[in-house]
Amino acid sequence: MASLSPEERTALRDGFARLLADRCTEKDVRRTMETASGYDPALWGQIAAMGVTGLLVDEAHGGAGAGPLELEAVMEAAGAALLGSPLLSSAVLAATLLAAAGDEAAKARLLPGIADGSLIATLALTGDAGTWTPEGMAVTAAPAGNGWTLDGHASFVTDGQTADRVLVAANGPGGLALFEVEREASGLDTAALPTFDHTLRMARLTFDKVAAQKLDATGPAWDAVQAALNMGLVALAGEQAGGARRVLEMTVDYAKSRIQFGRPIGSFQAIKHMAADLLLESESATSAARNAARALAENAPDAKAAIALAAFACADAYATTTATAIQMHGGIAFTWDHPAHLYLRRARAGAQLFGNSNHYRERYLQALEAQA
């Protein structure tokens, strides 16, 4: 995997941040979150043109061939701007799964489109339990003629209603395997799920003898899923760290300008001390996210621990920051028109998206035990 230099990485992140500052304002976020797809196709095109959708795709398939460090950097900007888009589903999860599975034909078929943004893919990995573990899957595969058919359901499928292709983990006669399904496939029913985070899109898919193409994975299917989830966790951690920092900035700015009792509320210790504690939270989230990216990029011995740490530390820090920020704003943040709750909703979503913090604390401890 070709890595960018720290300077190139900063330039990429800053360029992306500038694009979002321009095209993903709060007004844009609110407009976009009311649409069915949950993303702005024009902005998506610009993101693609900048190379962000192809960040993780190797150069042979039209991508930048970059890795977790670059991804984490752009996700900080995406999180700060509350970008609603299929970036996580397609450019992170699907792209990583395809690369990890190693089916060359599938890569050739899908990665170029993912890289240039013209094709949106997503993963279907869990049933209604939403556990993101092998036990949580609820699709079965059966051979049918030259191909396969899928039955069952998958839930919490991000961007499931807009994805052109769905990569499905299903249990078949030979154990767990990965399958590619077209959106228009017969027998596939896609029901949009109403999400508390309005910038997020999820669907529940029902499979009734849906024709599917099996990926010819070079290793165990679950390893590829794990690789995708690990990359997804790094992306999510970056998003959360960036979001937490932005929310803290907003809140500190408000505390400097809001006058009560004849002085800025930020001069009161109650507010000031909450801000100080949040700084520690958001700085820790940033450190954790970047450390996870570093460890995954290096495939370091501590990667498992670092990713698990980032998963719960960033989720918790984002939740704390967004929740405290509303309290610090007072009444104004209790209104729909103030952006604070949009961040809170995003934070609550991220805290459950691939499993909760307790789950990742347990994984972190297991990794520490293995190291010790």
Binding site: T126, A129, G130, T131, F156, L193, P194, T195, F196, D197, L200, M202, S257, R258, I259, Q260, F261, G262, R263, P264, I265, F268, A270, I271, A323, I326, Q327, G330, G331, I332, A333, F334, T335, W336, D337, H338, A340, H341, L344, R348, A349, Q352, L353, G355, N356, N358
Partner: protein
């Protein structure tokens, strides 16, 4: 009249007049029979009873589920008018307020005056015998249907902030009063913004004297806080109030997580918070006899804020990925998410947790106040924002 005679009289009256199937007109009868505010004097719909006898009446009404009594304790509007209104206003409104014939709202908070309520900048200027009002109010419920708003406005800008405020009954049905719904964080609109432009207040609608509005407000606020305390809302899905332990334990069972040791600890911890608050409240009531203390209310409100946030967090934890969803098809997620947001209604509304801690520290524990930079300063010199 002995307690027994009184009990017999109210029982007999209720037997003759109360029919749960036919509520229309009942309130007027209650008022006419002087049950609505029995502690009040005879000339104002009352019977001049002491608290003990008034409670007898309340118990009899409660026993048959009849409304309308105890308004001498609970009717914010009527109490305020009776205590502080002009004779003309009292004659005009007290009876109608007891009969619930007047729509009312509160015009206190402003965008620039939240925690610092005395920092209001809505102005009331003399105009003929009355006043003309300009400014903006916020967090007003029932404003669209209200006939009057209890309004605080600044009438003197050359004295320190608490001393230049007056308290009015503002007629709401006039062109200068514009009501706009305020969409809350929960995507509901229980409140409004009220824009006031050259709205008129008649001479009789001043409560207390000009410049004494802050003390009138204190009387009224004690009621608002108690209303607030009861207003902490339950799940949106319509399930009964998430009161005791049972609902949370039941939810854990339904969600299949009651065997999870982490959830079990959390359940015990959070349930305990609610039970401890109930015990505190009961103890405070017993210690105080019949009175209530707004300071202890501050402690209860602070506790309730934590309870509501913690219960919402626990509900979320119990649902896991399910909490990602919302809407009528996902009622438990809807509850958890709604309650997570609505908890701020209690932790911010009616005085933030931070303000409550000031009140507890200063009024209950006797800790000294902070230096006040806007004290003893003419309000027009005070920094706003």
């Amino acid at each position: 009249m002995t307690d027994n005679q009184l009990r017999d009289e109210v029982r007999a009256w209720l037997a003759d007049n109360w029919n749960p199937e036919e509520r229309a007109g009942f309130l007027a009868k209650v008022v006419e029979a002087r049950w609505a505010a029995p502690r009040w004097p005879v000339e104002w719909f009352g019977r001049g009873l002491d608290d003990t006898q008034a409670r007898i009446i309340e118990r009899e009404f409660a026993a048959v589920g009849a409304p309308g009594t105890a308004q001498d304790r609970t009717n914010l509007w009527a109490n305020t008018v009776l205590a502080k209104g002009t004779e003309a206003l009292k004659h005009q409104l007290v009876g109608r307020l007891l009969r619930n014939e007047v729509g009312m709202c509160l015009l206190y908070s402003e965008p620039g005056a939240g925690s610092d309520l005395a920092g209001i900048r809505t102005r009331a200027d003399r105009s003929g015998d009355g006043w003309v009002v300009n400014g903006q109010k916020v967090w007003t419920s029932s404003a669209a249907t209200a006939d009057y708003g209890m309004l605080i406005a600044r009438t003197d800008w050359d004295v320190p902030k608490h001393r230049g405020i007056s308290f009015f009954f503002l007629p709401m049905k006039q062109p200068g009063v514009e009501v706009r719904p305020l969409r809350q964080i929960t995507n509901e609109a229980h409140f409004n913004e009220v824009f006031i432009t050259d709205a008129a207040v008649p001479p009789d609608n001043l409560l207390g004297r000009e410049g004494e509005g802050w003390s009138v407000l204190q009387t009224a606020l004690a009621y608002e806080r108690s209303v607030m305390g009861e207003a902490a809302r339950g799940p949106r899905s319509g399930a009964k109030e998430a009161g005791g332990a049972a609902p949370m334990v039941a939810l854990a069972r339904e969600a299949g997580v009651l065997a999870d040791p982490l959830i079990r600890q959390d359940l015990a911890r959070v349930t305990a918070l609610r039970q401890l608050n109930a015990l505190n409240t009961a103890r405070a009531k017993a210690d105080l006899g019949q009175g209530t203390s707004s300071s202890l209310m501050s402690l209860g409100k602070l506790a309730m804020s934590r309870i509501l946030h913690e219960e919402a967090r626990l509900r979320t934890a119990m649902l896991g990925a399910g909490s990602l969803l919302e809407g009528p098809d996902h009622p438990r997620a809807e509850d958890a998410n709604f309650l997570s947001l609505n908890a701020y209604f209690t932790s911010i509304g009616g005085g933030t947790d931070q303000i409550q801690r000031n009140i507890i520290g200063e009024r209950v524990l006797g800790l000294p106040k902070e230096p006040e930079v806007d004290r003893d300063v003419a309000f027009r010199e005070v920094r706003g924002g």
